[in-house]
Amino acid sequence: MDIRNFTYLVYGYSAAMLVIFGYVTLLVLRSRRIDRELTRLKSLVEDKS
């Protein structure tokens, strides 16, 4: 492979992967927070009713 500008090619693909993995991490953290809140509210409703 022609290695001219190879460093910037690596930057490009790394940046793309970083954006996607960053979004996946955000989704995982948000899912955990939502699940915790859902469990808490369900137990509160059960206790009150």
């Binding site: 492979m1 022609d2 290695i3 001219r4 500008n5 190879f6 910037y8 090619l9 930057y11 490009g12 693909y13 940046a15 793309a16 954006v19 996607i20 979004y23 996946v24 989704l27 948000r30 899912s31 939502i34 699940d35 809140e37 859902l38 509210l41 369900k42 509160l44 409703v45 009150k48 009713s49």
Partner: protein, 226 residues
């Protein structure tokens, strides 16, 4: 069932992407003028087209929400917009890195680049404004209107390099004019398929979150009433 489907889509998409990277980095012929950096097209273009596909689904589901007032359409729209915005960001970042080498600058206020940035900002605005409206029906209605308005930018982005009286630095369209080497098509299509599969898996995860959020809203109202 839902989790299995998400995992299967994500795994298949990732496998396709890894296989495609092998072709892109090790088997494709070199480009005479640009050096290795031309290979960025195999993530830059599929990310843009993938984003437009998800925005298209979002505009259809937003219109359906306005007609039917069913919240499942609103959930699907927000999921598609979020994933589409992620791919638009990938497109902007990779394009900027390519521009740094080929044009010598990270950014220029060129017609294509500017309209694409506006597209990203419009959908980012959609995502940032949603939490500001607390009443669910009002939030979904306003979001649907904004999604339809934001989608109007996409034909402008597409046409920005096709109109004769618009001066642009961006490369002219090569996909439909036959300007692309025939050996570049398979990795480009595989990359596009991988983007769609991974994007669909992400949309399904986001859709489930939105359904859970509505359940949380319902439980809060129930608690308030007790």
């Amino acid at each position: 069932m839902r989790e299995k489907l998400i995992l299967s889509l994500a795994a298949l998409g990732t496998l396709l992407l890894v296989w495609d990277f092998n072709t892109i980095f090790l088997h494709l012929p070199d480009e005479a003028l640009q050096g290795a950096i031309y290979r960025i097209i195999f993530i830059h273009v599929p990310a843009a087209i993938g984003a437009y596909v998800f925005y298209s689904v979002a505009v259809i589901t937003s219109a359906m929400f306005l007609v039917k007032k069913d919240f499942k359409y609103d959930s699907l729209a927000v999921a598609c917009v979020e994933v589409g915005a992620t791919f638009t960001l990938v497109n902007l970042v990779t394009g900027s890195i390519w521009g740094r080498i080929i044009w010598g600058i990270w950014w220029t206020w060129d017609a294509r680049l500017t309209t694409q940035l506006i597209c990203f900002l419009l959908y980012l605005g959609y995502l940032l404004l949603r939490p500001a409206v607390t009443e669910p029906t009002q939030r979904a209605t306003m979001s649907a209107i904004l999604a339809i308005f934001a989608f109007a930018d996409i034909p402008i982005v597409v046409m920005a390099i096709r109109l004769k009286n618009v001066r642009t630095q961006h490369p002219q369209p090569v996909l439909e004019t036959g300007g692309l080497d025939p050996s570049f098509w398979p990795p480009l299509l595989i990359s596009f398929a991988a983007v769609l599969l991974i994007g669909t898996a992400l949309v399904l995860v986001r859709l489930h979150q939105e359904t859970s959020r509505r359940e949380i809203d319902y439980l809060r109202r129930e608690l308030h009433a007790l």
